[in-house]
């Protein structure tokens, strides 16, 4: 039926769209030239000349704009991953609690959801930022545990300082041992016993190397410097404020998604599980949740995408995320159009990868045979 005509219409539409894009591009280029601007990405290789407050990779002001943008992108990814993980844990807990028989718990969760969902995220970020700034100055730091500093410059705790190849080998050995043991304990594969023994052996070997060799491992405890706390592992108040804001905001939305998902499973499933002698917890974990996931996962994808995009509000409270670095770069380099294009491409790539990963998980659930109700 009109397949050929449909194809022609689509081709014409595509051609018109491409022509429009080309027209706009040509016009922008022409007018940039008239304004004395030379478009191009050559500036990315030039020194950025500005410092960035926190970075996952080594960075200094003499590094290039490209590296500065990478620092911003990694910061955005870091806060997005941590935020999605924490918001999921908190959101699922709250969603399940919302359906509990305990009226007080139910009411509290409902109040939390309404307050969080009905106030602007930016306001919440300012609130968290002010809360972090209300912590005492480094000299009067709160020390809930010896060696842990809570200050308005950030939270600092002791960390393992590793020097030399042997130290890293020992650390890697321990990490692999713990991960293997965890896998064996929770997923219970058929060869669990074998895996556990291997993990124990690896841990013992690492421990032996740490004790009898001189691996250069030490505990790096934070201490007071002239202005700041130095040493140890520090997390900035801006990062904490942003993470808290994004987690709390998204957890309210995720909790509603989880509640809706659980309620979409027919009551009969609960009753059937009970009649088989399963406890409420077992029924939830083994019978209801797997079916609810078919409803929950697609909605969860949009929550994750929202969280990733919302992280761009960081610029308001001083966390150097991608948008913050982009805007400084645009200002210092004078290449506003190019930097905006980079920002659009980066967010698109980031969000497309989030949704690709999540869609594959969704497809995997479908393949397991949990049909959507």
């Amino acid at each position: 039926m009109g397949g050929r005509r449909g194809f022609l219409v689509q081709a014409a539409l595509l051609a018109a769209t491409l022509a429009l894009v080309a027209l706009v591009a040509a016009d922008v280029l022409q007018n940039m030239a008239r304004a004395g601007l030379t478009p191009g990405f050559g500036f990315l290789g030039r020194p950025a000349n500005f410092e960035i407050g926190e970075s996952l990779i080594p960075y200094s002001a003499s590094d290039s704009f490209a590296r500065a943008l990478l620092v911003g992108l990694l910061n955005t990814i870091m806060v997005a991953i941590a935020g999605c993980a924490l918001a999921t844990i908190l959101g699922v807990t709250l969603g399940v609690a919302r359906l509990s028989g305990n009226l007080l718990l139910k009411g509290l969760v409902q109040a939390y959801v309404e307050v969080v969902r009905n106030t602007p995220l930016l306001l919440q970020l300012f609130f968290w930022s002010a809360t972090m700034h209300a912590l005492p100055a480094p000299r009067r730091a709160l020390m809930p545990v010896e060696g842990v500093f809570l200050t308005n410059r950030g939270v600092f705790f002791p960390w393992i300082a590793a020097e030399g190849g042997l130290a890293w080998t020992v650390l890697a050995g321990f990490t692999v041992a713990v991960a293997t043991a965890g896998y064996a304990a929770f997923r219970r594969p058929r060869n669990a016993r074998l895996l556990l023994s291997a993990a124990a052996l690896l841990a013992a070997a690492s421990l032996g190397a740490a004790l009898f060799g001189d691996p250069g491992l030490s505990i790096d405890a934070p201490r007071l410097g002239t202005f700041n706390v130095s040493g140890g592992f520090g997390i900035s108040p801006e990062f904490l404020a942003l993470l808290a804001g994004l987690t709390v905001h998204s957890s309210a939305i995720i909790s509603e998604v989880v509640r809706a998902g659980l309620q979409s499973v027919p009551e009969g499933q609960w009753e059937a599980a009970h009649s088989l002698g399963l406890s409420r917890g077992q029924a939830l974990r083994l019978v209801v949740m797997p079916q609810a996931l078919r409803v929950i996962v697609p909605l969860m994808i949009s929550s994750y995408l929202d969280l990733t995009k919302n992280s761009s509000l960081a610029v308001a409270i001083g966390f150097p995320d991608l948008v913050s670095v982009i805007s400084t770069s645009a200002n210092q380099s004078g290449h506003a159009v190019e930097t905006i294009l980079i920002m659009v491409a980066a967010y698109l790539a980031l969000n497309l990868s989030v949704s690709t990963v999540m869609n594959r998980y969704d497809a995997k659930l479908a393949a397991r045979g949990f049909a959507a109700p």
């Binding site: 304004a35 610029v315 210092q332 920002m343």
Partner: protein, 344 residues
């Protein structure tokens, strides 16, 4: 600002605007001036900062840079009110000028070589000589910027400040940790809460921000100026005559102070026998004929707004709550840097 404005939306808006306003249009000999005449008003980009540019309770713009904008309106239309002020944040202002959102940017922009040659801006005469300063709490006991090794520094994004502070610490081989915040109130709050040891900004601006702190007396401005910040009017390339009108309007303000002409005595000065005063005020109309300007434009500016000194004293001088000293912003005859070429 009732609500903090956020960057992403603004950047995108600027981008959209850049695309939209770059629709093909025929080129004129003086496109900016033609547009101004057609519109019947000069469009001036300003910031928001008491003393320099702020609307009063009735919504009328006031301030040091606002008065310079009004002087331009007098030079073009002989009317101080044929001017529209558009407020723009530090982040947004340069792209907005590029895209033609206003005819001139009078928001305290620092003149730099990249802004001139890379972004394609002409700068008029410097109207305010400033320098970046460092504000620290007194209790730190710091007396020089060189003592600040390891300090945390609050910087507002979108200014030359980010570059200067990095340069200063690198040149002195000491380290610092920047916290770059866009929102002005959040910036002040972070410093006040002790998030940073240092707040850095143009010294004039730091004076204002210090006044906004709860206990201004607990903070001290370090003596160093870590940069030169000549603040000048900026316009787009491509309209030479508009550039000259900007230049000579500013020179008229400077020259009138040098000649001792004020808004109070300008009418008496019309009777002065001094030929340079007679030319300047248009009693002798030969300059007007030569320049195709209203021969009495300098008279009208001084009559309505006063000379440079009066504008400075009225808006930001020691008698105001801003309380700036004239410093370098005095005529060269009084040891400052203000110097106007001859009116002849």
């Amino acid at each position: 600002m009732a609500y903090p404005k956020l960057l992403p939306a603004r950047l995108v808006a600027t981008f959209v605007l850049a695309v939209a306003t770059f629709a093909p249009s025929p080129a004129f000999a003086g496109p900016t001036l033609d547009k101004i005449r057609e519109r019947g008003a000069v469009k001036v980009g300003v910031g928001t900062q008491p003393g320099f540019f702020s609307p009063d309770s009735s919504g009328r713009w006031q301030g040091f840079f606002v008065d310079i904008g009004r002087a331009l309106a007098i030079a073009v239309f002989n009317d101080p009110d044929k001017v529209e002020f558009v407020s723009a944040s530090p982040q947004q202002r340069l792209p907005a000028l590029q895209s033609g959102e206003f005819d001139i940017l009078l928001s305290g922009v620092t003149e730099t070589i990249t802004r001139a040659l890379q972004l394609g801006f002409h700068f008029g005469p410097v109207v305010f000589y400033d320098g970046q300063g460092l504000l620290v709490p007194k209790k730190l006991g710091v007396t020089s910027g060189k003592d600040l090794d390891g300090a945390t520094v609050c910087i507002q994004t979108g200014t030359t400040g980010e570059l200067n502070i990095s340069d200063f610490f690198r040149a002195n081989k000491i380290a610092f940790k920047p916290v770059a915040i866009e929102d002005t109130r959040e910036f002040i709050k972070a410093f006040e809460a002790g998030r940073c040891d240092v707040m850095t900004q143009d010294a004039s601006d730091l004076g204002l921000k210090r006044a906004l702190l709860k206990t201004p007396e607990d903070y001290v401005l370090l003596p160093e100026r870590i940069s030169k910040e000549p603040l000048a009017p900026a316009i787009r390339w491509g309209d030479d005559r508009w550039l000259e009108i900007v230049n000579w309007t500013v020179y008229a303000l400077i020259q009138s102070e040098e000649l001792g002409i004020t808004s109070q005595n300008v009418d008496e000065k019309l009777a002065s026998p001094d030929p340079s005063i007679r030319r300047f005020l248009g009693v002798d109309p030969s300059l007007g004929a030569a320049t195709q300007l209203d021969p009495k434009f300098a008279y009208a500016i001084v009559k309505a707004l006063g000379n440079y000194g009066e504008i400075f004293e009225r808006n930001v001088g020691p008698a105001t709550k801003i309380g700036f000293e004239r410093g370098l912003n005095r005529p060269w005859t009084a040891g400052g840097l203000l110097y106007a070429p001859p009116f002849r």
